[in-house]
Structure formats: structure tokens, C-alpha cells
């Protein structure tokens, strides 16, 4: 009798305990889910805030006017052109060098200490803060090579900055090309380079393109490295040569953000819309390419 009641009590107690543990666990789903959506909510919130404060400034005039002392007349013309110049030169440099480096690492490098050093070095370079690349660009490109705070100096700096992440992306997609393709090509008498050029690179192209686009997206938003090399000038002309001084959209955003007048802040918000549309287009393109070629 006493035994059975205490057993029943224990059973009730443990059932209650299990129920409580289950309840806590069920609750935790909401807590963790809420924390996850917090980041996404912030993202949406920032987008809305920017559009509200900068949307009204956005117009064709804003995109095609030079900067000005008067907030209402200032525009993004020279910074959009400067961004296009710098990114264009950066892309031209980074694509061949990144692919060549990745091909060498994956296809030609003799396995050994040198290869390990190169790989380790790339991993470390990817973690170097952008402002340090700016210091490097300032001393080597601006001062030593005498390029001044020019488009070319900026592009070289950004090129070195995004090279590691582009190489790593290219490496990954090259290593995912099935080795049966290589074996088949080599067995038919192709040389190693012919194999790489005709079979490996076409197979790896979508992955490489994704990596390059994401890297360019990062370069498009870079500010600190470019300010470091001295690209913080008032530019009221159209860039025509890689040796011109320049400004970019992120630099212009910084310039307008640190001014106390509300009207300039609105310009900053409008420029952020422009920059974010560009960056999101890059990222979306990369995502689409990745999704489309995933199954192959």
C-alpha cells in the first residue's frame, strides 16, 4: 500500500518533471528562433530607415551632379565614375592572377613545404584588416612607385586586398572538378596545361565567377583602405585616366556622414541606397550563378 502510493507519487513526479523539461525545450525553440530573426529584423529595419531618410534625395540629378558645398546641389557623379574605374581595373588584375594562383596550387604545385607555405600565407592574408592593406598601398604604390592617390594606386591596393579570398574561392571550385575529366584528357595525350585550359577551367568557371563577384562586392564597399592611400579629395571632374585622383561612393558616404548638417546626412542615406543596390546586385548574381550550376 505505502509502496504503491510512493511509487505512484514518484511516477507522477517524474512525469511532471519530463513535462517540465519538454516545456522548457519547447520554449527554447522560440527563444533561439527569436534570436535568429533578430539579425534579419535589424537588416530589414536598416533598409527601411535608409529608404525613409534618403529616398527623397534620390533623383537623376543626384546621380549626375558633382559634389558641392551645398547639400541640395551635391551628387554622386564623380564618385560613381571613380568607383567604376577602380573596380574595373581591380577586376582586370584579380581575375588572371587569382585563377593562375589557384591553378598552380591545385594542378601544378609539387606537394611539399612550398605549397604549404603558400596556402598558409593565403589564409593569413585573408585575415589581414583592410586598413593594413591601405598602409601597404600608401607606402608602396602611392609613395615608392610615385603613383600618388590615383585610381591605379587604389585599384592595386584593392587587388591585393581581395586576391586571397578570390584565390580560395577559385581553388575550391577547381578542386571540385571531377578527376575523371583530368584522367581522360591526359590519357588521350593532352598536356597538363591543355587539360587545365580545355577541361578543368571550363568546369570550374561558375565557381570562380561567384568568387570574383563576391570579392568585387567587398571591394565596392571598401572605405578604410582607400582613405588610407589618400583618396579623400574633392573631385569635380570626370575621371579619364588611371592616374587621376578619384573618390568612390563609400568615401562619399563617409564624407557626408561625418558632417553635422542634416541635409548631408540625407545625401549619405541616398548614397547608401545606391551602394546597397550595387552590392546586393553583385551578391544576388553570385547566388544565382551558384544555384544554377550546383547540380553539375
Amino acid at each position: 500500500m505505502t509502496l504503491s502510493t510512493s511509487a505512484a507519487a514518484a511516477a507522477i513526479r517524474s512525469t511532471a518533471q519530463v513535462a517540465r523539461r519538454q516545456r522548457i525545450s519547447g520554449l527554447s525553440a522560440w527563444v533561439f528562433g527569436g534570436a535568429t530573426s533578430l539579425g534579419v529584423i535589424v537588416l530589414i529595419f536598416l533598409a527601411i530607415d535608409t529608404v525613409l531618410s534618403g529616398g527623397s534625395r534620390l533623383s537623376w540629378d543626384f546621380l549626375t551632379s558633382y559634389p558641392s558645398r551645398f547639400a541640395e546641389r551635391a551628387g554622386l557623379r564623380s564618385s560613381i565614375l571613380g568607383t567604376a574605374w577602380v573596380l574595373g581595373l581591380t577586376v582586370v588584375m584579380v581575375i588572371p592572377v587569382a585563377i593562375a594562383t589557384a591553378v598552380w596550387i591545385e594542378e601544378f604545385a609539387p606537394r611539399g613545404r612550398l605549397l604549404n607555405v603558400v596556402k598558409l600565407n593565403l589564409a593569413n592574408l585573408a585575415g589581414v584588416p583592410s586598413i593594413i592593406y591601405g598602409v601597404l598601398g600608401l607606402v608602396i604604390f602611392v609613395r615608392l612607385l610615385g603613383l600618388g592617390p590615383s585610381i591605379l594606386a587604389g585599384a592595386l591596393t584593392l587587388f591585393l586586398m581581395i586576391l586571397p579570398m578570390t584565390v580560395v574561392a577559385a581553388q575550391e571550385s577547381i578542386s571540385q572538378v571531377p578527376s575523371s575529366l583530368r584522367d581522360g584528357s591526359l590519357a588521350l595525350g593532352a598536356t597538363r596545361w591543355q587539360t587545365v585550359w580545355h577541361h578543368v577551367l571550363p568546369g570550374a568557371a561558375p565557381g570562380i565567377a561567384t568568387g570574383v563577384i563576391l570579392a568585387i562586392s567587398r571591394a565596392a564597399g571598401e572605405t578604410a583602405a582607400l582613405i588610407m592611400i589618400g583618396a579623400f579629395a574633392f573631385i569635380a571632374f570626370d575621371n579619364t585616366s588611371p592616374l587621376d585622383d578619384f573618390t568612390t561612393v563609400p568615401i562619399q558616404i563617409y564624407n557626408w556622414t561625418i558632417r553635422p548638417q542634416e541635409a548631408f546626412r540625407q545625401n549619405a542615406a541616398a548614397s547608401i541606397i545606391v551602394l546597397m543596390v550595387a552590392v546586393m546586385t553583385f551578391n544576388l548574381t553570385a547566388a544565382v550563378i551558384r544555384e544554377r550550376f550546383r547540380g553539375d
Binding site: N121, G221, R265
Partner: protein
């Protein structure tokens, strides 16, 4: 002898052609050589970074003593008495990194646990890229929000005069958003690579979902989680625009989030924007601070990478 001679006679052209194919293709070896040259660019970059920072830092220490740099607690490069005690700038960096971690760590880990252990695969497929999109936002955009939205519209009405206009809290909050995807994404990768058997064993013993997550998966993925935190710290230490815009330019030996401070990166940007003459002590201090910054991020990166490699070796 005769046989060899015969084979040699008939095989000579083939042998010659084969030899040509292996060694006689100047174009092919030229291509491989140029590939190797391109691969060398990244090695040269590292050498240049070390060389530039080391050279200019040595110049700096000709004017400023080691003892002053590491023992003085006052960073005052512009006004008399001029002094270069690095700790105020290091404190500024630690201040922002600390408060951003306080915010990003719980949220980031909760996100990682949710994505890895709770979310339906379809939800996860939508949420993870959205979270990672936060890492793609240019930092100057974050800087704008830190100053205009967080500080002006939220913190100042909330805290009034207790908080200065430029303050570390505004920068830290936005920095937390910036490093959130680093923590969430890498931790989630680590948790996803924990073998399913471990979870099934725990469920079999009657553990709830929360218990499986916190007592089985998190401990098993711990080295990956720590790696994600170290990489996030490294990113936060090197971040420039947010702190330069929102945290102020007052070197300050404090961990209070309400005060105006200056970080190492913030100081470097200030020198770049200022008109310090080339060769002056102020100009050279840029490189000494840069060297300190590079060493700090290098340390966090290397330890983080070692840990990432370790957890990959265990489960992959």
C-alpha cells in the same frame, strides 16, 4: 647489342618526339612559370606588409622609446606634452570588441543552435543566407547607422546626458551586428558536422531537444565555436569605419561603453585624414600602431585557424 641498336634506329624519331613533348614545349613551361609567378604575388604581399610595417616602426622607435610606448598610459600625439603610450588605443579597441562580443555572442550562438538543431531545412535555407547578408553590408554603411540611428535616435533619447555623442556603445551595437554572421555561420558549420549518432544516442536516453543541443552538440562543436569567436574578434579588431565615425577620437583608458574613445584603427584613419608631415613622429606612429594591430589580428587568426582545422580533423 644488335637488338638495342635496332630498337634505337626505329624508335629514335618517336623517342625524340616524346622528349620534345615533355621538355620541348617552351610555351607550356612558360605558362607554368607564369602561374608560379602569380602564386608568388601573395608571398610578396606578405613580405611587403611585414617589411613596410617593420621599417617604419623602427624609424618610429628612434624618436620614441620602447618604454614610453609600452609603459606610458597616455596617447597624446598632437598637444604638449606629447606622449605615445599605446595602451589608451589598445583599451579603445578592447572596449569596443568586448561590448560587441557581449551582444553578438549570445545572439550568434542562439542563431547557430537554432539553424543547426531546430530549424526546418527549408527555413534554414532561407534564414542562413539572410543572416550572411549582414556580413556583406559595407562597413561604412554600418558606420552611418551607428552614428545617425543608434546613437542619435536610440541611445541619446534613452540615456540623455549620461552618454556622449561619440560613444563606444553605439559602435559596439553595430559592430555586434557586423560580426553576428561570422559567429553564427561558422558555429553552425561546426554544429552541423557533429555526427548524427551522438544526437540519436541522447534522444534515445530521453533527452529533450534543448538538452541535446546544449549538452551534446555544443560541447562536441566547442573548438569550432571558439574558432568562430576568435575570427569574429579578429574582424572587430581590424574594423575601421564604424569606430572612426561613431566611437569618437578621444584616446581613453576605459572600458565604459558610454564614453568617447579612440581605437587603434580609428587613430590610423585620423592620421591618414590629417596633414601630418611625412617623416614626422606623428606620421611614423601610424606604422607603429599598424604593426600592433597586425600582430593582434594575426594572433587571433592563427589560433582560430588551428582550432578550425582541429575540429575538421575530428569529424570530417
Amino acid at each position: 647489342m644488335a637488338a638495342r641498336g635496332f630498337a634505337g634506329d626505329a624508335g629514335a624519331p618517336i623517342a625524340r618526339r616524346l622528349r620534345k613533348q615533355r621538355f620541348g614545349r617552351p610555351v607550356e613551361s612558360l605558362i607554368v612559370a607564369s602561374l608560379w609567378l602569380c602564386a608568388g604575388i601573395s608571398l610578396i604581399t606578405t613580405a611587403l606588409i611585414i617589411g613596410v610595417l617593420a621599417r617604419e616602426t623602427v624609424t618610429f622607435f628612434r624618436d620614441v622609446s620602447f618604454a614610453e610606448f609600452f609603459l606610458d598610459t597616455n596617447w597624446q600625439p598632437l598637444f604638449n606634452p606629447i606622449s605615445f603610450g599605446i595602451w589608451e588605443l589598445v583599451a579603445g579597441t578592447v572596449n569596443v570588441v568586448f561590448w560587441s562580443l557581449v551582444l553578438a555572442l549570445p545572439i550568434g550562438l542562439a542563431s547557430a543552435i537554432y539553424l543547426s538543431e531546430y530549424a526546418h531545412p527549408r527555413t534554414r535555407k532561407i534564414l542562413k543566407p539572410l543572416l550572411e547578408a549582414l556580413a556583406g553590408v559595407p562597413t561604412v554603411v554600418y558606420a552611418y547607422f551607428a552614428l545617425t540611428f543608434i546613437t542619435q535616435d536610440v541611445l541619446q533619447p534613452l540615456l540623455g546626458n549620461n552618454i556622449s555623442f561619440f560613444n563606444s556603445l553605439g559602435a559596439s551595437i553595430v559592430m555586434a551586428v557586423m560580426i553576428l554572421p561570422t559567429i553564427a555561420s561558422i558555429s553552425e558549420d561546426a554544429m552541423a558536422s557533429v555526427p548524427e549518432e551522438l544526437r540519436e544516442g541522447a534522444y534515445g536516453l530521453g533527452a529533450t531537444r534543448l538538452e541535446v543541443a546544449t549538452r551534446v552538440v555544443v560541447p562536441a562543436a566547442l573548438s569550432g565555436i571558439i574558432a568562430s569567436i576568435l575570427l569574429a574578434i579578429s574582424r572587430a579588431v581590424g574594423e575601421t569605419m564604424i569606430v572612426a565615425v561613431a566611437a569618437g577620437s578621444t584616446p581613453n583608458l576605459t572600458l565604459s561603453p558610454l564614453e568617447s574613445i579612440q581605437t587603434m584603427t580609428g587613430y590610423m584613419l585620423q592620421v591618414a585624414l590629417g596633414d601630418a608631415a611625412r617623416g614626422s613622429v606623428e606620421y611614423n606612429s601610424l606604422f607603429a600602431v599598424g604593426a600592433m594591430l597586425a600582430l593582434m589580428t594575426f594572433f587571433f587568426n592563427v589560433v582560430g585557424q588551428l582550432l578550425v582545422r582541429r575540429f575538421r580533423e575530428v569529424y570530417a
